[in-house]
């Protein structure tokens, strides 16, 4: 018995060692991209489509293009459960993998992003928090290693107010209007508050902030309050299971859905489908198209799923958050490609990828080549501005699909940018960072 377990143990160790040896040997021209995902827990409804979008796009780049300029993309998932502590553990585990370490991190959690921001500059690994994370990271002079293009939470909130003013017929009509912000009670949900408060002062609308505690399954009290307040507009910063619960509750109190606008993390198929017909008319912001009708989707079905469209559908293809993951993966890949343009076609280090991100310029011609024409807008990052001049659109759920109901709305940069610079300066002072000159 003892002897047997000894042999089994030795066998296990041997298998482990050969495994390590094999993976070491395979380090040829490879570019390692770590993936922090959450496929379990209350945030899985949002986390799964995002993770699948990333995975499929990386696989597509390998199968269709043979990697990035011939360098194979390798990636590994680490489950975070949207928990900051596990996220940090995953970061530590993955940051040194691959021949040149992690290329860049996409934490997909504002809480984890906050944790990683100070570490990134020390470990020399860039963070691409696309449309989430710390808003003031848009100030590239202070946050050298963090990128949050194409837009930040604060820009988004200002664009939402702009949209409301257009619907109401002008900024002067905002006075006295009742706006409620329902938000996830975490670093993420609170991000939009300062902007909404500042704009409330400027335009004279009445703002009520209603927090929903993690994980957001219990919102009866919140929506009773909304029923009493009878707000003209409700803006929501939700994530995971909180979104579908909120939409169901809103439908239950017969709140006019077309005056209920989610942010871009609160508007995917998994959020609206559970509420059935109740969710028809629900709106959300976004910065790319929904649906799977673009050439890049055809490529994914062909190269990744071998033509099996049903299997692709099972893996969320075309859902809003799937597309979000894909867009995010595309920006990451293009940044690595940009870096290769300068440093040569080999495995890029984190520092080189950071240069690529800062000099990233995705134009419409490039998007067309990638099969993403009119799918999203290009970006042009600069040293000082890590947010870029992005803009958003409002999409509406018609019961079966999302369709755009607005033109591109640009945020009120004149208000947002000074706030960003002020917050970044405070961070720099607290952490004794000397801002770069750009």
């Amino acid at each position: 018995m003892k002897f047997r377990s000894l042999i089994l143990g030795a066998l296990g160790v041997a298998v482990g060692i050969t495994g390590i040896a094999l993976s070491k040997a395979a380090y040829a021209a490879e570019q390692f991209i770590p993936m922090l995902v959450y496929r379990t827990g209350p945030y899985a409804p949002s986390g799964i489509p995002v993770a699948n979008g990333f995975r499929d796009y990386y696989t597509l780049v390998n199968k269709r293009d043979g990697g990035i300029n011939g360098v194979t993309v390798t990636f590994e998932e680490c489950e975070t459960k949207y928990d900051t502590k596990i996220g940090v553990e995953c970061y530590e585990k993955l940051k040194g993998k691959g021949p040149t370490g992690a290329s860049l991190f996409n934490p997909y959690s504002t809480g984890i992003t906050y944790q990683l921001i100070p570490k990134a500059s020390v470990d020399k690994v860039p963070i691409l928090s696309m449309g989430y994370g710390r808003t003031s990271a848009a100030d590239g002079r202070v946050f050298e290693w963090v990128f949050n293009f194409p837009m930040t939470y604060w820009s988004q909130a200002s664009a939402f107010v702009k949209y409301v003013s257009r619907q109401e017929g002008g900024y002067d009509k905002l006075k006295g209007k009742n706006i409620v912000h329902v938000y996830h009670n975490s670093a993420y949900g609170k991000e939009a508050n300062p902007t909404l408060v500042a704009l409330a002062k400027r335009y004279g609308y009445k703002l009520t902030l209603l927090a929903v505690d993690h994980p957001g399954q219990e919102q009866k009290a919140t929506w009773l309050q909304i029923r009493r307040l009878k707000p003209d507009w409700v803006f929501m910063s939700g994530w995971g299971v909180m979104n579908s619960v909120a939409i169901k509750e809103a439908a239950a109190i017969n709140f006019p859905m077309d005056h209920f606008v989610g942010n871009w993390w609160s508007g995917t198929d998994a959020d609206v489908i559970p509420a059935g017909q109740g969710s028809v008319g629900y709106k959300s912001t976004t910065f790319h198209s929904a649906g799977s009708g673009f050439p890049v989707h055809a490529d994914i079905i062909k190269h990744v799923y071998g033509g099996d469209a049903a299997k692709a559908k099972e893996n969320n293809i075309g859902e809003v958050l799937y597309n979000r993951g894909m867009v995010n993966a595309m920006f990451g890949i293009e940044a690595i490609r940009t870096a290769m343009g300068k440093y040569g076609n080999k495995s890029m280090t984190g520092e080189q990828v950071r240069w690529g991100l800062e000099n990233l310029n995705v134009e419409n011609a490039r998007l067309q080549a990638l099969g993403m024409k009119d799918f999203t807008r290009g970006v042009k990052v600069s040293c000082a501005d890590h947010e870029t001049g992005g803009s958003l659109r409002i999409q509406q759920w018609d019961g079966t699909k999302w369709k755009f109901v607005s033109q591109w709305l640009s945020p009120m940069r004149d208000i947002v940018r000074p706030m960003i610079e002020k917050d970044a300066a405070m961070f720099a002072k607290e952490n004794k960072i000397t801002p770069r000159s750009c």
Partner: protein, 358 residues
């Protein structure tokens, strides 16, 4: 054979009363400390230190703190997370307001703040006991986190409500903030754990610990023999909260580097409670073993499929981890309801008789 105290004569009261009366225990602990201080930081890589060992040390400190209250004084508390939050936020507030104060002193001051808060929320313990007290401390958990979430003063009005550990030095070495190396943070956490474990061990051996145990075993009898319940219970709350506050401060400054209230949620309170239940109520050693089990086993289970080269989807391996971990807890509690501390004791008894058991 090797573990036998025959021939070790105690010739003075001092020798008779020392923490480890058996020479082999002393050697073992000394070796453990040498390994912890001199071997681990040079052998373990950054991932191990940062993601595995430092959280283990910090949770050990919190578990020791809760064990003083629950295991020794018999007061069930579900407010551990909140007391840790008090320590963390107090450290942040004090060190950002007075950056010139040495960070170690700030840690101790925050521990005091947590102790004060602990006393306030310990007051109900004078009237209520058992499960009802647990519910009262639950109120602390929710109230304190709500306060830190709601009032901007506590997080210096940062837009997202997160606190970040600013860079601070001790003897010219960076010990908090992003520049601090994992080794330094490991040393800081380890030193705090060792120093305060020694203090805890001595508290529970002395007059205070005995009065706690008397209150735990039968409070009316304790009162009759002259132990004041008010003083004793509140002291248990204060000292326990001090430990938890210190652990909370370390978890932000030496481990995470930043946190929001979510990092100190009710889940943490339960986790620390499970640590002392699995480790063994009323045992300092048990607290540390329980902390090791709860923090290390899930990480080990997560990494196991990859270690053996078994390809497995991340969600599947996470689910398996949760099933196995839950199963292990149930198994342990059935096999040994008194936790690791009891297993340790049984092990020692067996060692004494080895190799000729009778």
């Amino acid at each position: 054979m090797f573990y036998r105290e025959s021939g070790q004569f105690k010739t003075s009261y001092q020798k008779d009363q020392q923490v480890f009366p058996i020479a082999q225990d002393r050697i073992f602990i000394a070796l453990l400390l040498v390994v912890a201080f001199a071997v681990v930081p040079f052998v373990a890589d950054e991932y191990w230190l940062q993601a595995v060992i430092i959280p283990f040390l910090i949770f050990s400190l919190a578990a020791v703190g809760l064990n003083l209250l629950t295991g020794y004084a018999g007061q069930v508390s579900l407010g551990t997370g909140a007391f840790m939050a008090v320590g963390a936020y107090a450290t942040y507030k004090i060190t950002t307001a007075f950056p010139e104060i040495n960070i170690v002193i700030v840690f101790l001051m925050s521990g005091m703040v947590a102790a004060g808060v602990g006393i306030v929320f310990g007051l109900p313990s004078l009237r209520i006991k058992g499960f009802y007290l647990a519910v009262a401390t639950l109120a602390a958990q929710f109230f304190i986190l709500w306060l830190f979430n709601k009032v901007g003063w506590f997080f210096n009005d940062s837009p997202s409500g997160t606190i970040t550990a600013p860079p601070r030095t001790l003897f010219g070495i960076m010990i908090s903030g992003p520049e601090a190396t994992a080794e330094v943070r490991y040393f800081v956490s380890l030193t705090f754990l060792v120093v305060f474990t020694v203090i805890a061990k001595n508290i529970v051996r002395g007059r205070i610990g005995r009065s706690w145990m008397a209150i735990r075993d039968m409070d009316i009898a304790a009162e009759i023999i002259g132990i004041q319940p008010l003083k004793t219970k509140l002291m248990a709350f204060a000292i326990s909260s001090f430990y938890c506050g210190l652990a909370g401060a370390l978890s932000v400054f030496a481990w995470l580097g930043g946190a929001e209230t979510e990092a100190f949620s009710i889940a943490i309170s339960f986790q620390v409670l499970f640590m002392i239940i699995i480790g063994g109520l009323g045992s300092i050693m048990g607290s540390i073993m329980g902390a090791a089990f709860i923090t290390l086993v899930p990480i080990f289970l997560t990494n196991m499929p990859a270690m053996f080269g078994i390809p497995m989807a991340t969600d599947l391996s996470k689910h398996i981890e949760e099933i196995v971990f839950g199963g292990l807890i149930v198994f342990l509690l059935i096999v040994e309801p008194h936790g690791f501390a009891r297993l340790w004791q049984i092990g020692k008894e067996k060692l004494r008789q080895w190799p000729f058991p009778y």
